[in-house]
């Protein structure tokens, strides 16, 4: 009774979800972080609150990037530390499937959750209702791309002693286009201009990374595992 690719994917997805829900902190961490960063800014700005609305897209996007990035560090780390990553590597299934399942679950609990919660934050930052569709779409595409990029970084750095700094150094340069186009799309939507340009660009980036990154991440993990 062999185990097919779909079974592997679904089993791994269930495993990851189970683990995330058993450790509510891992689940909530990105969300709480996102909320906190966005709440801290107005406090720091208190004398010139009028600025808040202009910087809203930047605050929103920086907070989203950072919160996704922070949780990426743990993508393979927990498994590497307790020895279960070795067991996964030895399970006789293509490592690519396992990496893909882990990355997708990461996006579901960090990126997707963040997208769902962003309207709340957007209201607090004074982003107008009309800008929501563009904002949601750009955040969704951006965080998915970031999860894939992060998987490559996390694969390369798991087990390294200088892991987390390296991860930021590897991922952030790759993520800068996301920030520029994402904040750009939101900003245009706020000022009533068409956000289509930056959105198309984000979509293209997302498709590109979703097809290539799984292979790169698997290769990266193989290199560090050996």
């Amino acid at each position: 009774m062999n185990v097919g690719a779909w079974q592997v994917l679904s089993l791994m997805l269930r495993r990851e979800m189970c683990l995330y829900f058993r450790r509510p902190d891992q689940l909530l961490q990105p969300l709480v972080f996102f909320l906190i960063v966005t709440a801290l800014f107005p406090l720091g700005l208190s004398p010139q609150l009028s600025l808040l609305r202009d910087m809203a897209p930047a605050v929103l996007w920086v907070a989203a990037l950072l919160s996704a990035l922070l949780s990426l560090e743990g993508l393979f780390k927990g498994d590497a530390e307790d020895g279960t990553l070795e067991q996964l590597a030895l399970c006789g299934q293509p490592l690519g499937l396992i990496v893909a399942a882990k990355t997708l679950s990461h996006w579901l609990v960090s990126g997707a959750a963040l997208v769902i919660m962003s309207p709340l934050v957007a209201v607090a930052l004074g982003i107008p209702r009309e800008a929501f569709p563009a904002m949601l779409l750009s955040l969704g595409l951006g965080t998915l791309t970031l999860s894939w990029l992060g998987a490559i970084g996390a694969g390369l750095t798991v087990g390294l002693r200088r892991g987390s700094v390296l991860l930021s150094l590897i991922v952030l340069p790759l993520a800068m286009p996301l920030l520029i186009f994402g904040a750009g799309a939101t900003d245009r939507a706020i000022s009533g201009a068409s956000a289509a340009g930056p959105l198309y660009f984000l979509a293209a980036l997302c498709v590109l990374t979703s097809t290539l990154a799984p292979f790169a991440a698997t290769a990266a993990l193989r290199i560090t595992l050996e």
């Binding site: 791994m12 020895g83 030895l90 006789g92």
Partner: protein, 205 residues
């Protein structure tokens, strides 16, 4: 080269840092043959086991399964394999049963009944629904052994499976090893005390 051997190592060399840990190890294992690896602390038993399961690529030498290098047929070979490392490799937040379900499930389709039976066999069915985090050291080790059992693998590579076990537990492992050999399984076991009826490879300091 012995063509009847299922698993064979040929002049394997491994360096760690500037220590030459494995200095030309060669060995052959046939079906129904379980090898005991022993030797003083730090002589490379764990290293050897990791080479045998393909987690570590030796700097020199070749590891092959039925004549083919294991790096060539990685997935097929590893599907036949059960490795138990120094650590029990359990997720502390999952219960013992869930730990088994998610790791054994990747090797073969398995029912909850099978898994509970494996846990019962190693004497920890009472811990099936406790998170692995709260288990005692010996209980964790028994869950890890239940995982090896439930995988129904042909090749067992066990690193000091007797650690933390009480007398009854040690006897249980001995029995399981014998049964594995009788089923035609093969593999290697690291242990410091002599095990009956096993060929022995003694690593030198």
């Amino acid at each position: 080269m012995n063509s009847g051997a299922a698993l064979s190592l040929d002049q394997v060399h491994v360096w760690r840092g500037d220590r030459h840990v494995l200095r030309g190890v060669s060995l052959q294992l046939r079906a129904g043959e379980l090898l005991q690896i022993s030797g003083p602390n730090g002589t490379g038993k764990t290293t050897l086991l990791r080479v045998m399961c393909g987690l570590l690529r030796p700097e020199q030498g070749r590891v092959s399964w039925c004549g083919e290098a294991i790096t060539e047929i990685r997935e097929q070979y590893q599907a036949l394999l059960a490795y138990a490392s120094h650590e029990p490799a359990l997720k502390g937040d999952l219960t013992a049963l869930e730990n088994l379900r998610f790791s054994v499930g990747l090797k073969r389709r398995v029912s909850a009944g099978d898994l509970t039976a494996a846990l019962a066999c190693t004497g920890v069915e009472a811990c099936a629904d406790l998170p692995a985090r709260v288990l005692s050291a010996g209980q964790r080790r028994r869950v890890a052994m239940a995982r090896v059992l439930a995988m129904r693998a042909r090749v067992w590579l066990l690193d000091e499976p007797f650690t933390n076990l009480d007398a009854a537990g040690a006897e249980l492992i001995t029995r399981l090893l014998r049964e594995h050999v009788e089923r035609g399984g093969l593999g290697a076991v690291v242990a410091h005390h002599a095990l009956d009826g096993l060929r022995r490879l003694e690593l030198q300091a």
